[in-house]
């Protein structure tokens, strides 16, 4: 278990020191949310209706932005080869890297979202639901991002291909995330089922994505 944590700790320290991953995602998130109301104009009603969807799309794109740095640095400096040798199963390596990506990127963005939602006149009633849905949903986003990064490991400019590969997998997260967020002001009965499906997507990704990611890396190494 200490092997698992040591990898998570290292990855988080690296994102904090290098600023490439977390810092970039956060900066992007902030930029879009500041520019959006300026571009759309001061129609408060319209902004309020737009806010949940805009926040979710921005979260999705911010997570995508740092995706290609999940495995690439370790691949380039030879660390990934040594990780492949063990003793920790490669599936756990992939899981640890996903969790580190989530803690470094998805989770901070989810926590910031309600606060930044004020820029879009996000209804105060939605602060709780959006935080909850985004914390859950961003875990799935990081796990799927890790899968995309594993499939494209070794490609020089993999970022674009990752986006195309995992975009279809992000669509359900977006749909049910927005629907859970909007439920309180729209159809309250939708909140429960949407959250359940979102949780199911996260849990399924938690189990399946690391296995698929490990298989992709093994196939690449051979």
């Amino acid at each position: 278990m200490s092997m698992f944590w040591s990898l998570i700790r290292r990855d988080i320290v690296l994102t904090l020191r290098q600023g490439g991953g977390a810092g970039m995602a956060l900066g992007f998130f902030l930029t879009v949310l500041v520019l959006l109301p300026l571009g759309i104009g001061p129609d408060l009603k319209f902004l309020q209706r737009l806010a949940p969807g805009a926040l979710w799309i921005t979260l999705l794109l911010s997570v995508l932005l740092s995706t290609d740095r999940i495995f690439a640095p370790d691949y380039e400096d030879g660390s990934l080869e040594i990780m492949t040798m063990g003793p920790m199963p490669l599936e756990l390596v992939a899981l640890a890297k996903s969790v580190a990506h989530w803690l470094g990127t998805g989770l901070p963005l989810a926590i910031l979202a309600p606060g930044l939602g004020v820029l879009l006149n996000l209804d105060a009633l939605l602060f709780g639901p959006i935080l909850l849905a985004m914390v859950l949903g961003s875990l799935a986003l990081s796990l799927l991002a890790c899968l995309g990064a594993a499939v494209t490991v070794g490609l020089r400019r993999g970022g674009m291909i990752i986006s195309l590969l995992i975009l279809p997998l992000y669509v359900p997260v977006l749909i049910f995330g927005v629907s859970a967020t909007n439920a309180i002001t729209g159809v309250p009965e939708l909140f429960g089922p949407s959250m359940l499906i979102l949780t199911a997507i996260s849990l399924a990704s938690l189990v399946l994505a690391p296995i698929a990611a490990a298989a992709a890396i093994r196939a690449h190494m051979a």
Binding site: S2, M3, S6, L7, R10, V13, L14, R17, Q18, P73, E76, D77, G78, S79, E81, I82, M83, T84, M85, G86, P87, M88, R218, M221, A222
Partner: protein, 207 residues
């Protein structure tokens, strides 16, 4: 413990790199891989470590009491040093020690670094080291985490004469302690290997 290979064949990109490669290395012995560039020294070491493509042949590890693979018992040092430049020298080693399941204290790390004359740079960022110092830092990992098999691919690249002597001493210590050593090098490290394998002899003859 004994590592033996029988009739290994390696193909890369449609070309047969080597075929009919066999060797046996026992506890406390060393195998030196020789041959010009492109004869498959790196491919062979990668196959042994478990991430190369083996076309045919048998690899066997005899006399091992558990079910670990060769890769799980081996250190592999390739052309890359597997260092994170944003971490300090100590953090780099301490991470690998933790990751490989043998956590190390600061004094253990310092001792290993001293063996490669890096002790005074322990708190430096690895990004500030020279190429030779980075190589020495990567080499320090080998003895910090004890693993019975060492697979070294040109370990002396970038090292000065004094550091080569330190490397040879580390390799000798490893074999004396009963470890297996398989290394490829073009440099005479003043080390006597029990076995030598020239991969140029096994290359497919081009007509």
């Amino acid at each position: 413990m004994q590592l033996s290979a029988k009739n290994l064949i390696c193909r890369r990109g449609g070309r047969t790199v080597f075929s009919g490669l066999s060797f046996t290395v026992s506890q406390g012995e060393g195998l030196l891989l020789e041959g010009p560039n492109g004869t498959g020294k790196t491919s062979l070491l990668r196959i042994l470590a478990g991430f190369g493509a083996l076309e045919a042949g048998e690899l066997e590890l005899a006399g091992a009491d558990d079910e670990l693979t060769i890769g799980q018992r081996a250190h592999y040092l390739g052309h890359q040093n597997a260092l994170k430049l944003a971490l300090s020298v100590e953090e780099n080693l301490s991470f690998w020690a933790n990751f490989m399941g043998q956590p190390a204290t600061a004094s253990m790390i310092e001792q290993r670094l001293d063996a490669f004359n890096l002790g005074h740079l322990m708190s430096y960022s690895a990004g500030l080291l020279s190429a030779g110092q980075k190589r020495r830092l990567a080499l320090s990992r080998l003895e910090l985490v004890s693993r019975p098999i060492w697979l070294l691919d040109e370990p002396s690249v970038g090292l000065d004469t004094a550091s080569c002597t330190l490397l040879a001493a580390a390799m000798r210590r490893h074999m004396e302690a009963g470890g297996l050593l398989i290394a490829s090098t073009h440099l005479d490290l003043g080390l006597s290997f029990n076995h030598r394998l020239n991969l140029a002899d096994l290359a497919e003859q081009t007509p």
